[in-house]
């Protein structure tokens, strides 16, 4: 197991090398200059030049890259001029909100998608199934901002149940922490649930046709136990895959919702950093996201093995 995980993490190396080169090239290609952003419209050209020198932007690209790689190998992702802190520290700070949000959103999504998807599969062609189709189409097409806006107006402005926006770390108390995350988690969760519910439906349908379901039925298992015990666990693998995929995407992909709800997460950090060309942070984040992506895949694979005893890792 340990060796397996090590091996998987080693497989990450080529991805990281590719990503780091690509991100460097992209940064080289994108016009825009962090010095100019920092100093603004009325900045003096001389000052801009100085600042660029300070930031190391006047070095040849290859040298910049090698310097950065040198640092990265020693675990140093560089410093952000804008955040005035080491990139790794900045990422660590923004991690909790994003991970919390992503977890909660997945939870919301699963809470909706699993019962709904199962019902639709069992009642194929009937009302629940059609409702699921409608729901998932709506969920996929509804623009995220509209849903968020609506939730905020209803639950925060009108009913005053929850705050409009903001974030409190878990150390501020559970309710404090949750109250800020509920609305954004629902906004994201609904959209994801639309995707997951469809997968639940189709993979449950697939499993329903398996001979061992017939065996269970022939043993006298009730419909409910049949679906929740025998079918669901076998249908879990495609569901896990999608959940893992969406979770990975949420790392950087929740930027819009994070912005709307003012959650200081990775997505917002990435958007801000791109906006102001905070190269060190962009590079660090891209690497980090790639890492998370691989880590999530790895966790999903470990879960596969937990769910399905046939899957043996290392094969």
């Amino acid at each position: 197991m340990g060796t397996y995980i090590m091996k998987r993490l080693l497989a990450l190396l080529p991805v990281i090398v590719i990503m780091s080169v690509v991100v460097f090239l992209i940064i080289y290609l994108i016009p825009g200059d962090p010095a100019r952003v920092m100093l603004g419209d009325g900045a003096d050209e001389e000052t801009i030049r100085q600042l660029r020198g300070q930031m190391g932007l006047d070095l040849p690209l290859v040298e910049q890259y090698l310097r950065w790689v040198g640092g990265a190998l020693r675990g140093d992702l560089g410093n952000s001029f804008f955040l005035k802190q080491p990139v790794s520290e900045a990422i660590a700070e923004h991690l909790q909100p994003t991970v919390s949000l992503a977890l909660l959103a997945e939870l919301v999504a699963l809470a909706i998608a699993v019962p709904f998807g199962i019902r639709a599969a069992v009642r194929r062609g009937q009302f629940a199934d059609k409702a699921l189709t409608a729901y998932s189409l709506l969920g996929i097409t509804i623009p995220g901002f509209l849903l968020s806006l609506f939730l905020v107006l209803l639950f925060a402005v009108r009913l005053r149940w929850l705050p409009v926006s903001g974030y409190a770390p878990l150390s501020d108390g559970l309710w404090n922490f949750l109250q800020y995350l509920i609305l954004p988690a629902v906004s994201i969760g609904v959209v994801i649930s639309a995707v997951i519910a469809r997968i639940v439906r189709s993979s449950v349908l697939e499993v329903l046709n398996e001979p061992y379901v017939r065996t269970a039925r022939s043993k006298g298992v009730s419909e409910r136990a049949l679906v929740y015990k025998h079918v669901l666990r076998n249908a879990l693998i495609p569901i896990l895959t999608v959940v893992g995929g969406t979770f990975g995407t949420l790392m950087a992909g929740a930027a819009v919702v994070e912005t709307i709800f003012n959650i200081p997460g990775i997505g917002q950090m990435l958007v801000h950093s791109v906006e102001r060309r905070d190269y060190a942070v962009i590079q660090g984040l891209v690497l980090f996201i790639a890492f998370v992506y691989v880590a999530v895949n790895l966790i999903v694979d470990l879960l596969y093995a937990a769910v399905d005893p046939r899957i043996r890792l290392g094969k």
Binding site: G32, E45, F82, P264, R276
Partner: protein
């Protein structure tokens, strides 16, 4: 138009007064929205927007604008100007403390202002190599090569703000900014959580002036203990937070206005925020030819463009001058016959004369902030009506900045400009911004700043503006306002070009 809004033509808007609420319970904490991220809190590098919102409450300069854009002494006790107009002697107030407890002395002021002068392009172009020198502990002297009538205005201006910081801070500053934010203002910085909030707290040792508060000048008394300048980049979020009473103040878009307009506990403020100008790239093949620039000026219909920017006649005014009307020193109507001409025929003729034959005009803009895009779209529409081929290049703000510094990739740029108070602050008269390259313009600009007597200033300024309307480094389009809403329990808030003076502001429970 609507009674609930306070029209603050002066560029200032105030909510209520601090006096009439004595006896009510007051809140000690205040949350104030920031709409953009803050790259730095170094006052000398600050570019307006969210930076200024914070910086102006933390730092102070020798002078500060009052509501009429007049520089009034702030950290300076007084100043003397030599007869030739070249030597300023600033006497400093005594007993002014920095947030670190150290008293402000001349060495701090000189160090701060010499650094500021190098960092702020507008100051550099005004003061060149002149240095602020320490005369004694409370006296700083500035020797200029030529008279500069904008000296005090430059020292007061809110962008690249000439804030005074301790000498040690200046000495240890890196190119990307100072390492500690220590000023003399009524609030001191406690924590800056990047991209989230800036927490400032009442500075107990603040030495207030006794003169009446006016703009950013005069008396300042911190009436709340803590202010959290909170970043909320999304319009709708800021507004919802206002509705849920999280923020007592918010900027209000036209669309949101009806929701707060007739609320009894909300006061609507109308602030003069920006003026819009169309800037030509004077190095571009097309607009290096003044005839083409004139053609553009001839066709523009300012009313329509402004309407396109703000969507309502309530939020703009026509103004042929590069200065606000309120700026009595530099306001001028010279050359106004070239403003808002709406004359397509003339434009077509001019184009013909200039030999225009269908080259594509590139309009550079961004959708990231402000109303750049709206204005650009309206200009494009009007240009197309006289047969000019156009293309809009939209980039994110950072890219746009870089592209704009490149003379080869754009022709026209339309954008908002924050509160010019002297001609020397007009970026587009600067060779780096739109690449103006005209000896006469430079000459006239110099004259207008070096004049000393009010009549001379007026004459020089009229001549400058007259010439600008012919040379057309840029075309003035008009001034725009914006609404903001204040809960009535927030009293004493002063807004100056949209930037709040949070001293004297009280939040009732």
């Amino acid at each position: 138009s609507d009674k609930s809004s306070t029209d603050a033509g002066s560029g200032n808007a105030s909510s209520g007064t601090a006096g009439d609420t004595a006896g009510q319970a007051v809140a000690t904490d205040l949350k104030y929205p920031l709409s953009q991220t803050i790259p730095t809190l170094d006052p000398h590098l600050s570019l307006g927007g969210s930076n200024a919102t914070v910086v102006l409450n933390v730092f102070e300069g020798l002078f500060a604008f009052n509501s009429k854009y007049e520089p009034v002494p702030m950290l300076a006790e007084s100043y003397e100007l030599s007869a030739d107009g070249k030597t300023y002697t600033f006497l400093l107030r005594k007993g002014v403390k920095f947030h670190n407890g150290k008293e402000m002395k001349a060495e701090d002021v000189a160090a701060s202002l010499n650094r500021w002068k190098d960092k702020a392009a507008r100051a550099k172009s005004s003061f060149g190599d002149s240095q602020f020198a320490v005369q004694d502990d409370y006296t700083v002297v500035l020797n200029l090569k030529n008279p500069q009538n904008d000296t005090l205005a430059q020292l007061s201006h809110v962008l690249n703000f000439a804030g005074i910081m301790p000498k040690e801070v200046i000495d240890s500053a890196a190119p990307e900014g100072v390492n500690a934010y220590i000023g003399t203002g009524p609030f001191k910085i406690v924590e800056w959580k990047k991209d989230q909030y800036v927490h400032v707290t009442k500075f107990e040792q603040y030495q207030s002036l006794k003169t009446a508060a006016d703009g950013f000048s005069g008396k300042k008394e911190a009436l709340v203990n803590n202010i959290y300048f909170t970043l909320a980049t999304d319009n709708a979020t800021r507004f919802s937070s206002f509705l849920s009473k999280d923020f007592p103040y918010v900027d209000v878009s036209l669309d949101n206005l009806p929701k707060v307009q007739n609320q009894p506990d909300v006061q609507i403020l109308k602030n003069l925020t920006t003026d819009f100008n169309l800037v030509f790239n004077k190095k571009s093949p097309l607009f290096s030819n003044v005839k083409n620039r004139q053609a553009v000026a001839a066709v523009l219909d300012a009313d329509q463009i402004l309407l396109g920017i703000v969507s309502t006649p309530d939020l703009y005014r026509l103004n042929p001058s590069y200065m606000y009307k309120e700026n009595s020193k530099f306001y001028s109507e010279a050359g106004k016959e070239n403003y808002n001409q709406k004359n397509p025929d003339k434009a077509k003729q001019l184009l013909k004369d200039a030999g225009y034959n269908g080259q594509v005009v590139t309009l550079l803009t961004t959708k990231d902030t402000g109303n750049f895009y709206n204005a650009t779209l309206m200009v494009k529409d009007q240009l197309e009506k006289i047969g000019v081929k156009t293309k809009i290049d939209i980039y994110d703000y950072a890219t746009m900045l870089t592209k704009r510094a490149d003379p080869n990739v754009w022709d026209i740029y339309v954008g908002p400009f924050t509160m010019p108070s002297t001609p020397s602050q007009l970026l587009y008269l600067n060779p780096t911004y739109g690449f103006a390259d005209d000896a006469k313009l430079a000459e006239l600009l110099k004259k207008s700043t070096s004049a000393i007597k009010p009549e001379e200033i007026k004459a020089a300024n009229d001549a400058l503006q007259q010439y600008q309307w012919e040379y057309l480094a840029a075309v003035k389009i008009g001034d725009t306002y914006s609404y903001s809403a204040v809960r009535k329990n927030l009293t004493g808030l002063t807004l100056f070009s949209g930037f709040p003076n949070l001293a004297n502001t009280k939040l009732l429970k």
